[in-house]
Symmetry: D2
């Protein structure tokens, strides 16, 4: 099955409903980092702004919970309030249907609806939901995105805790299915621990045996990297024989390691300031066309906050951004949904199985099965 992007249908601005809308108002920021009252906040959907001087303008590179700034060069930018400077022009208005020159477009892509019986089973999404089609669609999607998109993976440490999953992820990096990696200190620490000692938190990642002095292993791994100055330098020095970080560095995959208060160490590449880390994550999510978040509530929600439902391509077409979350608990998945994030695809399973299955599926596809 060949993959093709769904068509995007822009709103009809010449139609009666939107033709006569007023232009959007802007107000100046009076205090750095504080939006003016009645500021408009962005959603995950394409939003159009009527600037009064021509066609409605689509906000590119959006994310939810931002304000919209009219920049000096005339472009519109979705900006976190903390980045506002005195004098910035911020769009005002909270109506969503054009009444204030803002139109939130929730139906740009056609996703066919479900039945309309008065009484129906299985309206909720659980671990008992069928996932066969999700895997098949994901193989198609990743093969397409490998060449035509930007695939961002968000990884919890669990992926480095299991030998097969770790190797499968490395294989996907090496075959070009990973364009960016968002993770925390722990993923990198335990991946390096695996490379140096074959363990994660002191437990063998294959045999599961607890190593003697196991609680030193991750500290020793951190020490080795810190003594070399960075993960990159340690890899160059040849002391990290395998693993995710080595593959990511070797393939020049873009990578943000964001710090958290749980961290030991940290490793030198980890960004300690979370707002700087968030900005760097957003620099990557702006380019994302598919995001896959595995077994990490913290990073999955953080990334979910940053990713809109659409992306404007270089040729100025609008395409969807696909967002997958893979987790063991309905709670984690619902929590993301409750933050308003786009989670069209959730797969409730162990990420070890998920990663191994996806890698095998992609390999099988390639070999023409």
């Amino acid at each position: 099955m060949a993959f093709s992007l769904p068509t995007y249908e822009a709103p009809d601005f010449s139609g009666r409903k939107l033709r006569d809308c007023p232009p959007v108002a802007f107000a100046k920021v009076r205090k750095t980092g504080v939006a003016p009252e009645n500021y408009h906040a962005t959603s995950i959907y394409p939003e159009y702004f009527h600037l009064g001087d021509g066609p409605w303008r689509l906000l590119e590179e959006s994310r939810m919970d931002c304000v919209v700034v009219l920049e000096k060069n005339g472009t519109l930018a979705a900006m976190e309030s903390r980045h506002l400077r005195k004098g910035d022009l911020v769009a005002l208005g909270r109506k969503e249907n054009g009444e204030e020159g803002i139109y939130v477009h929730t139906k740009g892509f056609d996703f066919s609806p479900n039945g309309t019986d008065k009484f129906a089973f299985r309206t909720q999404f659980t671990r008992e939901t069928s996932f066969s089609i999700d895997y098949d669609q994901l193989y198609d999607l990743l093969q397409f995105e490998r060449r035509n998109g930007f695939i961002v993976w968000v990884l919890g440490p669990a992926v480095s805790f299991d030998k097969d999953a770790r190797e499968a992820f490395v294989a996907m990096v090496e075959r070009g299915y990973v364009h960016a990696l968002l993770a925390g200190n722990a993923l990198a620490v335990h991946d390096v621990e695996g490379a140096l000692y074959g363990t994660a938190l002191g437990q063998d990642i294959y045999t599961k045996r607890t190593t003697p002095l196991g609680h030193y292993k991750h500290l020793d791994a951190i020490r080795v990297v810190r003594s070399h100055g960075s993960i990159r330098k340690a890899i160059r020095a040849g002391v990290i024989p395998d693993g995710i970080m080595r593959a990511v560095v070797g393939k020049q995959v873009e990578c943000v390691l964001a710090g958290s208060i749980r961290d030991d160490g940290p490793l030198p590449e980890v960004i300690g300031d979370v707002y700087e880390a968030q900005d760097r994550m957003r620099a990557l999510t702006k380019r994302a066309t598919t995001v896959i978040a595995l077994a990490t509530q913290l990073h999955a929600i953080a990334t979910g906050n940053l990713v809109p439902s659409y992306r404007v391509t270089r040729r100025k077409t609008v395409r969807p951004v696909y967002f997958y979350t893979v987790d063991m608990s309905e709670f984690a998945v619902n929590k993301l949904a409750n933050r308003g994030s786009l989670t069209a695809h959730s797969i409730l399973t162990n990420v070890q199985d998920f990663v191994v299955t996806v890698e095998r599926g992609l390999r099988r596809r390639k070999h023409g099965e």
Copy 2:
């Protein structure tokens, strides 16, 4: 890696500790279904009884929470109290080290221990535990058991809810990896629903689309089977084109479908009396050498209650019984452990992935990879 059974080391009854133990006492049942006071209750371990007239006798075909009856022909039987008849001779004594002629042998098989640091990480078993080795061992085990053992699968309905998982299980049945199936009405109902309409509870098992009038589908499936008189007859009549039940019937896999108060229908083969169902399940678990329970708390716990940690082979050697539980929640797994069941191997994942992965792994092995 070739699989081989671990050696069993029987207790040393000639040694000082056990040589001079008294014989076990028996008392007569005075009321049907009621054990005498101070009855001995079985565990999951091999238990030996000193009958006074020769060597200590190993209780064969045990299960936990039973009493031990000395039958007229001189054999010992582990029996549920409800089956006691007036006059039956029941073993007495609750000491476990021979003091009362009973020896509970917990260390017959050598499973190497873990480390002994004072301070250690990862002593608990969770979804973040590595499972690579479990899969590899399971492939070895199932290939061995296929010819040399008796593999009992315990299935929750979820296996029939997903196209790939359903097909993978069918493939394992057809290639001889399933010797007995324990399940409930729902597994069979939704499997037949899948065969007739491609749905489970009205939802397409591949596309996940809700069918119009979806809440009729399982009722219609039940109706079709009941109108034919039984699953077997419906299959013979050619109305069930595929699925687990068809494969199980076709391969003459032994099967117990146990009723529950949740059931619609039920299908004709389902046993409505749960204690009769339990007896029939035990007739199969007595022969079990490996048990794999998937996504069903009710049936997994019920089966866990019935399965001891060992089995006496025809050649009178003692071998372990392997018990795997696959579930999404630590709670389900812990609950089984808290009932005292042997759960040497728990895999925390979605059974859809588990079944598909195991089937592929077995296939790959066979093809010599």
Copy 3:
């Protein structure tokens, strides 16, 4: 806050849409236990049947997944297919808006809707949902139902595992807040175990210490009851000093203990045939006006299957049936929802806390705080 029942608005059968509908067709059962083709299956909603000879008739005492039988005396009965006898007249038709003489009325009670923003947070129901109002409403509801309704509690064994929860439930029984109890063998076994030995599965229900020979305690409890002949007789004999079963028997609360394949024993009152148990449960749920299911997936789903969203009172008014499920996992709650059960109120918490909190809240209310 005084509690009052919401008003029920019947459909307007004199209106254009329904006035000219045809009467519902019936077909005869040709094989015992098998409905005729195109049978109508009930939902949880009030359903009206046009019999041609006067006003549309409301189906009383409904439950989902039943067929509708026109009995000889002219009344309509929602009946499980397994109870159909040859010659029974079964309603036909699967259209829900009167086209075939059947009207499924989903909007009889006014429950105010939520907002309609295009973009909204917190549309899912999770452990982080606020529950203060649920408790307050429950106090009001239970005080009302105590005198005016029929409160059915569905209990998993966990309620008997904790001293405070067990005592709180007993207090509610004694003060008239429990009209019927649905549970399994385990609830009764561990409650009696608590009465006799202060333990549950061998663990002290207050100190949590494991008793020596703890794995005998539930078997001993079963033995004591069986030797007396029944729970009732054991209570009368004075050997069960306290607990839920004693309170239930003492207050003549109606009680169904349904068997399952997990059971040890069972206790004499437990019904081994699950379909007979289901029938007995339904005899009680027909009278239910409020159902509260605590920490039991099996019994909660079984009861959910039996309980419609409404009840016709003696004075022939229609009132809602309130259904609460209390569980620790979103999965359990979603599973119930996916079976189509009415779960307007789910509380995600530990039932120990729930029972203790409700009992204290009711007591506080009574004392005029």
Copy 4:
């Protein structure tokens, strides 16, 4: 029941085993932030160091995964590697029984053991474990600690999502049961949102109704605080009428709000650099005698990393540090255990119920019931 601290039994350093141990070796740090090879890493237990010149020295103010530095003034300090400066003297040795002059003392406090049957039920800790005694002990403990200890609460945002829980926590702050608060941006944001609009993420914290434009509420709350310059200033200005932050500021409870990549805003008091935040958290956990972590995996694990099992009082006695985690999932609790954290007391329940129950229990106690 009056609460009393358990007695601490120091190791017998005059005994044979420890008398002749060598003194511990130290090595100089050669690169800032990098420990010398063979560094000793701390555990959660009291650790003694033999300095050669007198009695063994107990490491005060420990935490796990630190190195031990001999400071110029002769004291020993547990220090994160990242704080090491060139020339610092770091203790070497990984043996735990004095062989290298280091003794890890795991048995200083007497906690009575459990049974030793060969076969036992309920060895795992789950939602079905009884919690009555934990509540009773917690009341005693908190009453004692209120005057004699330092109680640190670690809060996830859920506590601010529910009206009753939020009020109960405020009441505990006001009555002196909260000496320090560790939380993230979200707890403060939604608490202020509750004060300003009665909502959390746009949902009414009592009625659960979704407010129109609900997804603006937390952004508006952030804006209000930022426009005032800080939470403190906003409170002083009178715009925050109630809630946790107001109570905490009013009672001068010490507070660290640590940033994360999930944050909107952030509020001005939030510390963006996670390692600085960790240091500030440790400054408070050094004083902690009881820690209670509610519904926050991130902050609970972070705090668990920082808290040792003991504390040296001003009068140089050694007492235990009590650590409670309250969460809905066995996974969260196990995860903490797998990090080696001391989690003697875990309560599996909804924190809303927990907070309300504890507050009521303390109040009842005080009134002499």
